[in-house]
Every structure is written in structure tokens, then in C-alpha cells.
């Protein structure tokens, strides 16, 4: 049932033993409670230990974990009365981007997120979370729609990147992303972004320019995938682990750099071990972020957003 990552092998072994023990005690009636609880404690300690010092590469693997809660999981647990809205009004409907109106803690919100899909069929339908231009144009449209009705926007980011395809290029992938960034910057309503898994490059920042940018503890956000970076700068894709270190793509690093505003802690062992409590924690953090922005008028929200990005990278005058 669980699918283990390479570095989780010691945990997998003990959990395997635990499974066996439970079966054994069921079948034989022999009470092995002591041994079971000893092993349970051991798993717990190991998980805590491992997950408190994940390397950037390990975080990359966790961020991409197939059992990690995806955009639609967040929507179904956090948003009530969700009403999906489709299409870019120009070419098509891109299911890599889910968007729609709903209620977050009673307030109407516009939710726009990238969905990777959680089984083979879903992954194909959602194109593994890699949007075509239509996805970004739909997002731009929904941002403008939210502005028109003064509805706050929540974006959920989880994508390996924008889709690299012939049609995507022909229909203006780069223009679609640029316009989406422009729309995120421009709208006179609160925008809160949450990076839930993989924040892959231009495809991620297209939805990632916000008044508050939050990031799940084990999510990553990077200008290029560690593999891509390794193959270009080190000329060896096998050095992805080294590249992941150098890129500073963890939530902790990005917070220190001022690129994100907050980190949402994940349960012990990562989001994929407890989706419900992960999403609940995200919910509280989002509630706080929206509450902070309440009371600011449209111009102030827009100005604050711009100022925040203008300040990034500016050097203190001496």
C-alpha cells in the first residue's frame, strides 16, 4: 500500500516486520503487543529523524511522490461548493489547470491550481500537471474574472513545468505564461499562492506571483529541475543530487532568500503519509494569509504585490 522512496528503506523494513508481527499475533493468538509497540516507536523515531533532515534531493523526491496530496485533494477538503470553470475562450480546455469558484471558510474564492493526477488515467488526462498555453490563458481569464467580482484568488502550484510541445510553442506558450504573470501582478484582489509539491520553473511562477506565497515544508521551487541543471551545468544528469544542493530549492532556503512568505509544516514522514492533516494545516495557514489581506483595498493589494517583487534582489545602499 505504501510506496517507499529509496532513502526510506530502513523505515520500510521495520514497517514490513510490523505487518508480519500483526498477522502472526492475529493468527496464533500470541500477544506480541510489546514487540509491536517497540517497533512502532522505532518507526516513529526513524521517520522523525529522516524527515527532519531531508537533503534537497530527497525533498525533490518527496515533493514528486505519487501519493502526495494533489490540487484536487486540497480543493475537495478545503473548498465547499466548488464549481469548476473551463476553457480559455480561444482554443480549448486544459485539464492540467483546474479552476473555479467555491467557498473557503465561508468566503467566495477563485481557486486556480495545477493538477498532476493521481492514477495513470488521471495523470494522462491532466498531462502530468504540465499546462499548455490554454491552461495559462484560462488562468488569466479566471484571474480577471475574480477581479471583476472582487473575489480573492487562491493558487495551488504543483507542476514539473509548462508542457514542451509543438502545439504549445505554436500557440504561444511563452506569451501565455507572460500574460498570466502579468494578470497575477495586476488584479486588484488578494492573491495567495501555495506551492504544494513541485514548483517547476516558468510554469510555476505563472501562478506564483501573489501577495502571500506559502510553501509546504517538503515542496520545492526552482528555476530548473535538478536533473536539467545537472545536465547543462555539470554535463551529467546523474549529478542531480549535487545540482539540487546548489539550486537552493527547499522551502527553508527560499524563505531565507525572501522568495516565499511562509512554510506550512507537514506531518511526520511527509504529506504522503497523512494527506488529511497536511491539508488541514495548509488550510489554517491560508486562513491566516487571507485574514492578513482583508481590509486592504484593491489598489493597496496591487501595490503591495508589486513592491514585494521590486524589493527582491535590490541591494541595500551603503
Amino acid at each position: 500500500m505504501n510506496s517507499y522512496l529509496d532513502f526510506e528503506k530502513p523505515i520500510a523494513e521495520i514497517e514490513g516486520k510490523l505487518q508480519e508481527l500483526r498477522h502472526l499475533s492475529d493468527d496464533s493468538g500470541v500477544n506480541m503487543l510489546d514487540e509491536v509497540s517497540r517497533l512502532e516507536g522505532k518507526v516513529d523515531r526513524l521517520l522523525k529523524q529522516t524527515y527532519s533532515r531531508l537533503t534537497p534531493w530527497q525533498k525533490t523526491l518527496v515533493a514528486r511522490h505519487q501519493l502526495r496530496p494533489h490540487c484536487s485533494d486540497y480543493i475537495s477538503r478545503l473548498i465547499t461548493d466548488f464549481l469548476p470553470l473551463a476553457g480559455d475562450r480561444a482554443f480549448g480546455e486544459d485539464r492540467a489547470v483546474i479552476g473555479g469558484l467555491g467557498r473557503f471558510q465561508g468566503h467566495t474564492v477563485m481557486v486556480i491550481g495545477q493538477e498532476k493526477g493521481s492514477d495513470t488515467e488521471g495523470r494522462v488526462a491532466h498531462n502530468f500537471g504540465m499546462a499548455n498555453p490554454e491552461g495559462y490563458r484560462k488562468a488569466s481569464r479566471l484571474l480577471r474574472l475574480a477581479e471583476r467580482f472582487q473575489v480573492p484568488v487562491l493558487t495551488l502550484i504543483d507542476t514539473p513545468g509548462a508542457y514542451p510541445g509543438i502545439g504549445a510553442e505554436e500557440r504561444g506558450q511563452s506569451e501565455a505564461i507572460a500574460r498570466c504573470i502579468e494578470a497575477c501582478l495586476d488584479v486588484r484582489v488578494p492573491v495567495v499562492a501555495l506551492i504544494i509539491g513541485e514548483g517547476g520553473s516558468g510554469g510555476a511562477i505563472a501562478l506564483g506571483v501573489a501577495n502571500r506565497v506559502l510553501m509546504m515544508e517538503h515542496a520545492i521551487y526552482s528555476v530548473i529541475s535538478p536533473e536539467g541543471c545537472a545536465s547543462i551545468l555539470w554535463r551529467d544528469a546523474a549529478l542531480a543530487e549535487t545540482a539540487a544542493e546548489a539550486l537552493r530549492l527547499t522551502a527553508e532556503d527560499l524563505h531565507a532568500l525572501g522568495v516565499i512568505d511562509g512554510i506550512v509544516p507537514e506531518p511526520v514522514g511527509g504529506a504522503h503519509r497523512d494527506a488529511a492533516s497536511t491539508i488541514d494545516r495548509a488550510g489554517s495557514a491560508l486562513e491566516e494569509a487571507f485574514a492578513d489581506l482583508r481590509g486592504l483595498d484593491g489598489a493597496a493589494l496591487r501595490g503591495q504585490r508589486r513592491e514585494k517583487y521590486l524589493e527582491l534582489g535590490a541591494v541595500a545602499e551603503g
Partner: protein, 311 residues
Amino acid sequence: MSWLERFARPKVSGLFRKPDIPHDLWEKCEKCEQMIFHRELESNLRVCPRCDHHMRLGADQRLALLFDGEEYQTIELPAVDEDPLRFRDRKRYSDRLREARSNTGHDDAIVVAHGKIGGAPAVVAAFDFGFLGGSMGTAVGESLLAAARLAILQEAPLIVIPSSGGARMQEGVLSLMQMARTTIAVDELKEAGVPYIVLLTNPTTGGVTASFAMLGDIAIAEPGAVIGFAGPRVIEETIRERLPEGFQRAEYLRDHGMVDMVVHRRKLRETLSLLLSLLRDKKPAAEIISLHGDAPSKSDVKDEPASAGAE
């Protein structure tokens, strides 16, 4: 010191110098492989006289090509944290920067200049591909903001000439953030009513294309320039198909509605001068001809608002 004083100070070394003549007097065209005499190539603006291939220009050559009398002044690039991640791959990023500076004579992958085009002031920000592949990091983002503000201050149009492989990986996610920051630069221009023109040259790809480069009021491309988001190799590996002929080239983009025009280098200055004058001198240059047949006399035109008011 305000940003204005900081960047509006001209750089003494920024005044244009003719590039040194290279030692080898013949150059090979990368497209048709013909050997071309150096002087012939230069007088032809580095366009192959045999096959019309547009060879790459450095930032200095770009600026000399566009400004009247090859005269312009560059501005000092704003100060930034040069190596925020203390990045090191096979080489230190700080060493790569040092090398690029000594090879190009520029502080970073962009040069911002102001002067006159077609007799009227203009600001130009030209990328230098020779500087780490024209990649966009914090310095480039900050320079584009400075260029936009200079254009607004001078009420002069901004022409940006990307030649870039995209974001600068050595600055990690901070280079990604320049996509947002350069978009703000574009929005500031738009709010000020200042024309923003992009001249897409070979190559314009990645994060540069997916931000300011595709947001021009007018988009012009040089013939044959590769312009796109994803690199051709990445696309081929993803879709496992051969790419169509001319894919991601300037002409292909024009045919797909992504740029306004593809302009030969020889016609660039003329085209830009005309465009800028059309955007500037909006009064009719000649008498208006009525759409309703007879040309109106001047008194007719004058009377119209008055009679409308009387009704």
C-alpha cells in the same frame, strides 16, 4: 542616493568604440559555410551576403546599428548582490562572471543606452549573448527596470533587444523572480503610456520569452531568429517526434501570429524610425480625406462640433 541619480549617471567607458578588427580576415557563415571577407561581412551588418543568414551581434554592435550616427550613452547598471547563492558547478559562478566581464567588457548580459533614433530620443536595452548566453539574473532584471524608468523619465520609447537562452541557473529561483520583476517594468511603461517595443533576435528562449520579451506593444523579429519557450531538444525528447521545418524560427512565429513582423537587419533602423514616428506624431501629416466621398472643406470640419452642439 535615489535610483535615478544612481543610474542616470553616464559611464565614461560607455561611449561607443568601434570593435577591433579581428586577426583572421575571413569568417565562415554558420549556415551556408561560405568563407566571407571580414570587411564585406561588417559592411553588410554581419548578414551573410550569400545566404542572408543574420549572424549574432554583440550589444555594442546592436546599439551602433540602431542609434542615429552610432551615437549613444550607456548608463551604469544598478548594483545587485552578484552571487546570492554562492553558486558553484564545475566552476564558481563568481569566476564565470569575472571571465564574462573580461571577455565582453560589459558588467552583465545587458547594456542600457539612450540616444536618438530617427531624430527622436529613445532608450534601448540590448542583451549580449556573449555574456553567459545572455542569461537573465538579478542584474538583468534590475537593469530592465532601470531602462523602463529612464524611458518614462525621458518620455521616450523603450526598445528591448533580447538575445538570451533564458534564466540564469546560477542564481536559482532568484533568476526566476526576474520574470515577475521585468513584467512590472513593462507594466510601468504601459501605465506611463510609453511605447514598448521588443526586437527578438537569435536566440530568445526560456524565462526571457515567457516574461518581458513577449509583452511588447509591438514585436519585431530578425529573420531566422530562434524564438520559443522550450528548447528544441527538450521538445523532441518529450514528444519523440521530429520538429517541423522552420520550427520556432521568426518566420514561423509570424505565421502563427506571435510577432508583428520579421524585419531584415538592413531595414531595422528605418522600420523603427517609422514606427516611433507613427506612435509619436499622431497628428495627421496630410489633410484628412472624408470617407463620405467629397473632400470636406476646412470650414465643414470646423462647423461639425458646433452644429452637433446646437441640436
